[in-house]
Symmetry: C2
Subunit: 404 residues, 2 copies
């Protein structure tokens, strides 16, 4: 319990303490920690001598801190808990609290590579049924490895960045030839992303059991997707422009340490994965996602049920010797549960437009329209009945370039 009053429904109790990069408009970007509705200016706090490793915090991104490794992450967290818990520290800490409402939240880390997995069996099955109605919904490799691909790191943006409707090649209706124009099937993908701290060198696989030595924390991800572009371009080498126009992440990186009480066993796997993919105890995370479209909750995807867990994903992506860099982001793939209202994308929620969503006031949606706002929130259980929140990842669709 902090000396700082934190409302019970806040995403950011003292048990959370996620890291981000903030500043008032025009101010230097620097590292902060969320507590209640305040940002603790840990850069200034460290400059004042109350926190070690000032070079980690007087920085435009979290990368120096991320690269410092697990023992620095742990020490810093312990010290912050102490400062916010001990009433005696209040006079020296309070001057460094800034109302979150007064600041801008920036992209929290400088990104290395961005990998997107495809690890929800419900999502993969739904998409398989929609796109290949006459075939097996799951590809033959799906249960043997966590399928993934590299996305465009340069278009990963922080929550709040407007999303311009992309243009690209697609075939409309039963047209035999493609045309170039606005995407007409603009979609979301509600995902959970893992941020790499400690790097590795070329040729050094990371065992599943060691994943917490390398992964610092967790963000929410919206992997915006243009389905019409994707269907036309996607074979044989996978998604490209249908995804590369923008991917949004939440501004607060929740440390794995804050999610200790959210750990759950992943679902049973059949067949049993190869040894290098054997999952650790309680490798899943019980994160409840909530997807809103223009303020109406349209889905509640449960992350706890993901078939492939983050430790398996990391082991797989490095088993060939691929190196990790600080700031690498790997995302889960769309999170969908078994229920209709647990699907994490509009292609699933509307069955590719065949079953439109009815929103309040009679509004109907298949895919996103200009002006739509999508927000994804997440929360996980913390110690003693507390809630570890993720804040939100949000974005508004702007009309395509040239159409405004």
């Amino acid at each position: 319990m902090s000396w700082l009053p934190v409302s019970r429904d806040s995403d950011f109790p003292i048990q959370n303490l996620p890291y981000g990069v903030f500043g008032r408009p025009g101010e230097l970007h620097r590292v902060g920690v969320a507590i209640g509705d305040q940002v603790l200016d840990v850069a200034a706090l460290a400059m004042a001598g109350a926190l070690e490793y000032p070079e980690c915090f007087v920085a435009r991104s979290l990368n120096t801190f991320l690269a410092a490794g697990r023992s620095v992450w742990q020490q810093t967290r312990q010290r912050l808990v102490q400062l916010l818990d001990d009433g005696g520290a209040r006079p020296s800490v309070e001057p460094y609290l800034v109302p979150m409402a007064d600041v801008l939240l920036h992209m929290p880390f400088e990104i290395g590579d961005y990998v997107d997995f495809y690890s929800s069996i419900e999502h993969a099955t739904n998409v398989g049924q929609i796109l290949r109605p006459d075939g097996e919904p799951l590809p033959p490799n799906w249960r043997h490895l966590p399928i993934g691909y590299h996305g465009r790191a340069g278009s990963v943006v922080v929550s709040g960045t407007p999303i311009v409707r992309p243009t690209g090649q697609r075939k409309i209706g039963k047209a035999s030839l493609p045309t170039h124009g606005q995407s007409q099937r603009l979609d979301i993908e509600a995902e959970v992303g893992f941020v790499v701290g400690t790097p590795t060198s070329l040729g050094s696989p990371v065992a599943a059991a060691d994943y917490a030595d390398h992964v610092f924390g967790v963000v929410l991800v919206n992997d915006w997707s243009a389905r019409d572009l994707q269907v036309w371009e996607g074979q044989p080498l996978g998604p490209f422009l249908s995804k590369s126009f923008a991917t949004s992440v939440s501004p607060w990186v929740v440390p794995l340490e804050a999610l200790e009480y959210a750990r759950v066993d992943g679902p049973a796997q059949d067949p049993s994965p190869l040894p290098y993919l054997r999952r650790g105890e309680r490798a899943g995370l019980d994160i409840a996602l909530k997807v809103s479209l223009n303020g109406t909750v349209i889905s509640r995807p449960p992350f706890a049920g993901m078939y492939w867990t983050a430790d398996q994903q990391l082991a797989h992506l490095t088993v060939n010797g691929a190196p990790l860099r600080t700031g690498d982001l790997f995302a889960s793939g769309t999170v969908s549960g078994p229920q209709v209202d647990q699907r994490g994308s509009l292609i699933e929620l509307t069955w590719d437009g065949d079953q439109p969503l009815a929103l309040p006031d009679g509004v109907i949606r298949t895919y996103l329209e200009d002006g739509d706002v999508v927000s994804i929130r997440g929360s996980a259980p913390g110690v003693n009945g507390t809630t570890i929140g993720f804040g939100e990842v949000t974005g508004q669709i702007l009309p395509a370039r040239g159409s405004r």
Copy 2:
């Protein structure tokens, strides 16, 4: 003609002047320019006042120079030509020449995103015939857009970096289940890569006609590929671990300006591409590649015949508003010509192992074996019968981890 004697068969006459990052063992990495068998230490030259923009050259990577934009690239090139051409400058320049044999060549740029295209119609047709013998060799979208995907930027390495044979999942022979182990079908892909200098912001497509405002120069690329991993993992989201273990680039970035006399018209395109993909005049480059395996030339792929040219690739990859960052690399995809001995990969040269290569002394090769050394060289016509060379991209295969 420089006052510095340059042998006629050198890759680096004064008409070339490619940029790299070098240093003697243990020395600070800094920017240099290749001329003959020497490296001109342009960092030191700029510090001495003989060259503007010292911050571009006293740097561990080319990125500051790349970001400075086309007019700085042009001014610097003019000034270097003047210094190396004018005998009067010799006394002030000569002290900054270092024998190339004495230095290490490092990764020349800090990489942003790495995109790999698939733009040789001969390569795509060959691979289609090998992998889908009963289907159409070219996918239906192939002639409408330059197919590409994002590769792992973090494993792009400079020429000379040893390549450890990757392990991963693959199905051996007619096995019904995959196993984890060494790749048994380790391959090369001889490619040409384009290095982005001037960045763009989210939502700003680059027209094909503007590509030379953004692309600084050209490197050779070997996109090492594990075919057995690729066949098993590649559907539905494309290549991942089969490519992400290593991609090698040549250390010298040849400026587009040096390739003015190598420009050729690309091949006719049928159907005519959509307007945003319309190609500029002489958008192709007459670069002759030469692939050697353990010293024997096994292929001479002609880059001039590539179906999709770099200006089209850049226009495509940004048409959806994806931003460019300084250091982004986009590669052509395997360069193959119509002749058997012009194929740029072993899967094509040996028809997936069915037609082994006979090397000198009775050595037989299908895919790469441990200890094999692969080198790719390239050359293009320069002004007045000169040759613009690319140096080489080379790598030796080391045994898989755990098997040494």
